[in-house]
Subunit: 285 residues, 2 copies
């Protein structure tokens, strides 16, 4: 019998669950809505209990304690996703499965997916940013997550806010996520961003706000590649607008190479995270 392992990507809206023999060859994959922890975890455990798994990798929203030495490893410490504060992912999974459990942030998982099988191959310094319900970022240095003492929260940078838009971040108001995430576009324009035509001026503004955050990321990491994923980036025309604005802002200060090679789409589409979670599921922590 082949060794099986599981992957779970926990997002603010939905969870993707998969079982596989190897990360890009899944045997079964489902999506479930993210509801209360009790209901969602029950659904997750019901799914995985159909299999004999050697390991489960989890890429999850945070903020979450990732220090394996901590007795609170796996604990969600904030209500960033309402109702989930105080849930300990590690304890929950560990009490249900006799398997190795390996947890990282959703964005680190996506970065790991793209590093191994996607647009981030061979990038010594790789950044993955998701721009959707929120903004989050993960950084891999030679394939290993740069988590620092807690973990990164790149969506919560302070960025220029030329219109003094109050922003929608419940914690910080007008941080990067507060003024440039998907919901912030809707609040600014009064209609969901998916309904805005490509020619709408909101996209120029959005590209400018994203570019200024990305310039700060370049200043902080000097990456080989920045992969932009998440729902907002399904607007493909944004890439070109972002490229132009970054070149304008950075102004040739240090070499960025060809900007369209630096700032790219995920090659794995919306599977970066689940593939990364599956890789975590087969990794020794």
């Amino acid at each position: 019998m082949t060794d099986l392992f599981g992957g779970a990507e926990l997002g603010g809206t939905k969870c993707i669950l998969a079982v596989a023999e190897n990360p890009i060859n899944t045997i079964k994959r489902i999506e479930i809505p993210t509801e209360t922890p009790r209901k969602t975890l029950k659904n997750i455990f019901d799914f995985f209990s159909n299999y004999k798994l050697n390991g489960i990798g989890i890429g999850t929203f945070g903020p979450i304690i990732l220090d394996r030495q901590s007795r609170d490893y796996g604990l969600l410490i904030s209500d960033s996703k309402k109702g989930w504060k105080g849930t300990n992912m590690f304890a929950e999974f560990k009490s249900n499965f006799d398997a190795m459990i390996n947890i990282d942030t959703d964005v680190n998982a996506a970065a790991i997916g793209e590093y191994n099988y996607g647009a981030g191959r061979a990038c010594s310094t790789l950044v993955y940013i998701t721009i959707g319900t929120g903004i989050g970022g993960g950084v891999l240095i030679n394939g290993k997550p740069h988590t620092g003492s807690f973990h990164l929260e790149m969506g919560h940078m302070q960025v220029p806010n030329p219109d003094n838009f109050q922003g929608i971040c419940r914690i910080h108001g007008d941080c990067w996520e507060g003024i440039a995430s998907g919901p912030s576009i809707e609040v600014r324009c009064g209609v969901p961003s998916s309904e805005l035509p490509e020619s709408h001026k909101a996209w120029k503004k959005e590209a400018e706000l994203l570019a200024s955050g990305l310039v700060s990321i370049i200043a902080n990491h000097s990456p080989d590649k920045i992969i932009l994923g998440g729902g907002v980036m399904k607007q493909k025309h944004l890439y070109q607008k972002i490229h132009s604005k970054i070149n304008e802002l950075w102004n040739g200060f240090t070499p960025l190479g060809i900007i369209s090679d630096l700032i790219v789409e995920p090659e794995l589409g919306s599977d970066s995270g689940i593939i990364g979670a599956l890789i975590l599921g087969q990794s020794d922590p």
Copy 2:
């Protein structure tokens, strides 16, 4: 005879040169003004030529090519310090000394100094920021510089600029360095910052601008410690103002611990950089 090595810290205003048997036990140390490359390098070489050195470590202003595989290793690629663009530090030193030459940014050198002998001991993720003529930052992960594909340029982040001050950065105008470096305070107030009393409102503003950049650094690195050096930080009252503002901006989102333990003074005072350069001088690249 004991092994000797040299260290050179090249700053925008002055250079510190030292010869030592070990990094904190210097035999000779001098300071010279930073003038044209020709004049400055001649003075540096004259000083070092009095000794038989096994290695020389250099911490320098940039932007500079740090990729040892590049044929341009050591090349200054911008006129960030006027007149120095096109100078190749490695080639210059190598043609004058039969010694190992090891180059890094001034801020990485300072971070290395503090990591080994100062406030950064045992910090897995250490950030050193200098706030003076410019703003620069270096990050060490387990003691090794995080340089990315080029090197970091943290002073050139995009940060909130609530007054729409045009800024003084020659490349970017109102980047972090453009609105929060020492000279920017002077332009804003009309008098050198060293002449402003502690009660002057410019310091509150300065602390706010520094805090918003530091929040972005926290979001990007989740550091164990951030050491703030440079001329502006000789205003000791700034630390407390920065601490308060960071706590206010971050708003408890992820644990920062005791803020006065996170954001600290350099223990090596203004010697962080030269001690780091000496460590580079005895390191195998």
